[in-house]
Amino acid sequence: MEFVKAFLVGGAICAVVQVVMDNTKLMPGRIMVLLVVIGSILGALGIYQPFSDWAGAGATVPLLGFGNSLWKGVLKSMGEDGFLGVFKGGFTASAVGISGALIFGYLGSIIFKPKMKS
């Protein structure tokens, strides 16, 4: 059941973004920025976490989930460190994703050769 939910919810989010892309011609970079920002806003409004608990990877794998985890980090750090936590939580929560992407990305750029565009 959790796999079906992940498939349907993840697929639905991507389908909605496809509709937006086809109708606005927004570039991929802008789409990614928008998704992360919308994710953190939905997180702050208290909408994304319950949705994410229900949908599992269907909600955490899309970049909306990345935005939500940024907000979760800010909220958690704020509880521990007060106002300083607002500056701390975002990077703490996204550390694995950002470090992973940069480190594997760097290693990838060393290992792989650029391909000719067909």
Binding site: A6, V17, D22, G29, V37, I41, A44, I98, F104, G108
Partner: protein, 150 residues
């Protein structure tokens, strides 16, 4: 001739978007759905080892990023993107792809100005606006809490 031209234009307008958009949406749904299902399989398998949900999600993120980097390097992920559109862009694998792809492409320009700069082409804006928006929301929440509103 004039009538024919107008009729043809109307025909093109009528046929092109409709024929292109629906398959695009279905393909995005399938590819996005499959990537999220793979993510769920990873999360479930890791949680079965007695790992907490948030930790399992972090491991899943790491696995998906590594897989995406390898598939990008082997020139497979660009094909998935070409087919799946938003389905390949929206998941965290699309973010990983956007980090490694320019780094590989511009490696000839050197460690600093090639890989170092280009690795942040998409990651830079995503990290900046992600951190900024969550900070703004955090400040709002902090102020609301201080005044006892929330």
């Amino acid at each position: 001739m004039e009538v024919n031209k107008k009729a043809y234009e109307a025909y093109v307008k009528e046929v092109t978007p409709v024929n292109k958009k629906l398959p695009n949406i279905i393909k995005a749904f399938l590819v996005g759905g499959i990537i999220c299902t793979i993510g769920q399989i990873c999360t479930t398998l890791i949680m079965n080892q007695g790992v907490e949900k948030d930790t399992a999600s972090a491991w899943t993120t790491l696995i998906l990023i590594a897989a995406s980097v390898i598939l990008t390097g082997l020139n497979i992920y660009p094909k998935i993107t070409k087919f799946g559109g938003a389905g390949a862009l929206v998941p965290i694998t699309g973010f990983a792809n956007s980090v490694v792809a320019p780094a590989v492409e511009f490696k000839a320009e050197g460690q600093v100005f090639g890989i170092g700069c280009k690795i942040f082409t998409i990651a830079g804006p995503v990290i900046l606006y992600g951190i900024l928006s969550s900070w703004i929301l955090g400040v709002i929440a902090y102020v609301l809490k201080a005044f006892g509103i929330v």
